[in-house]
Symmetry: C2
Amino acid sequence: MEHDLSHSISLLARTPASLDALLRGLPDEWVLRNEGDRTWSAFDVIGHLIHGERTDWMPRARMILKHGEAQAFVPFDRFAQARESQGKSLAQLLDEFARLRSENLAELRAMNLRPEDFARRGRHPALGTVTMSQLLAAWVVHDLTHLHQISRILSHQYREAVGPWSKFLGVLQCAGHSAP
Amino acid sequence: MEHDLSHSISLLARTPASLDALLRGLPDEWVLRNEGDRTWSAFDVIGHLIHGERTDWMPRARMILKHGEAQAFVPFDRFAQARESQGKSLAQLLDEFARLRSENLAELRAMNLRPEDFARRGRHPALGTVTMSQLLAAWVVHDLTHLHQISRILSHQYREAVGPWSKFLGVLQCAGHSAP
């Protein structure tokens, strides 16, 4: 399926409510535990999504329109949430993510991108030349990557509890697929 | 983490709303496409979850209480949804899943399971002896397996659209982890 702005927005607009329905009010045993040494909890992931709303997706879309390939994107800080989420509750993070996402989608709609804008190019610090449509599609799949991850983190807490069922439960076979 | 009834219920109660927020009203391009030959779409997965509510989890819990290991569970029909979802809309399926889940959790609470009940045994047609607590934990992780799968099915539709970003997006590396 080719990138389509309205399809992308339809998914991007739903992620905050889906994560909210899944996580808000869940016991801390689900929300704060991770998959072991140096891995993330569901709480950490929401902080990471917030950081992306602030510093990654829309700032990069603006940069493509303004500078094209002349200026590389600022590298994404994948550990910022440890600092930025400190002292906050999960409920606060979920609210913040929903608010930022909604503001970003309003700005994206207001950009009024024309068909030719989707082919405009920018420069990723590691990946090289990328296009506006690739950036927007990656924003969607980034949400889904973290939904995929959260379902795995939560499952991990019941890895032993399911007993012999573990071999029938696909998510327990997933060892994660982190970026190289 | 050991199985805990209130922890299990807290997650089981949230799955329908989380999937509803993610999928209801999404364009058919997201909802009806699968990952290729003989794989499932998000629509198919919701039908499968409905079939589980009807025939799998609570009927098996009842059977453990009533028959113990004397009688094996009825095997789960993993393809029933093709028949049962026919002619229904995604909105109808989401409503049906939410209603059945809510009824099942009401029944589970009303069972008033005591600590000793969680060790009670049943007989799975393929896995052999299993306990009540393993059954309830597997119900939770089964939900999460399908959330994990849906995030992957949706991502698959943008596999080409993300261009060079694909190597940073974990969900696109996931080849699935189906039961043997």
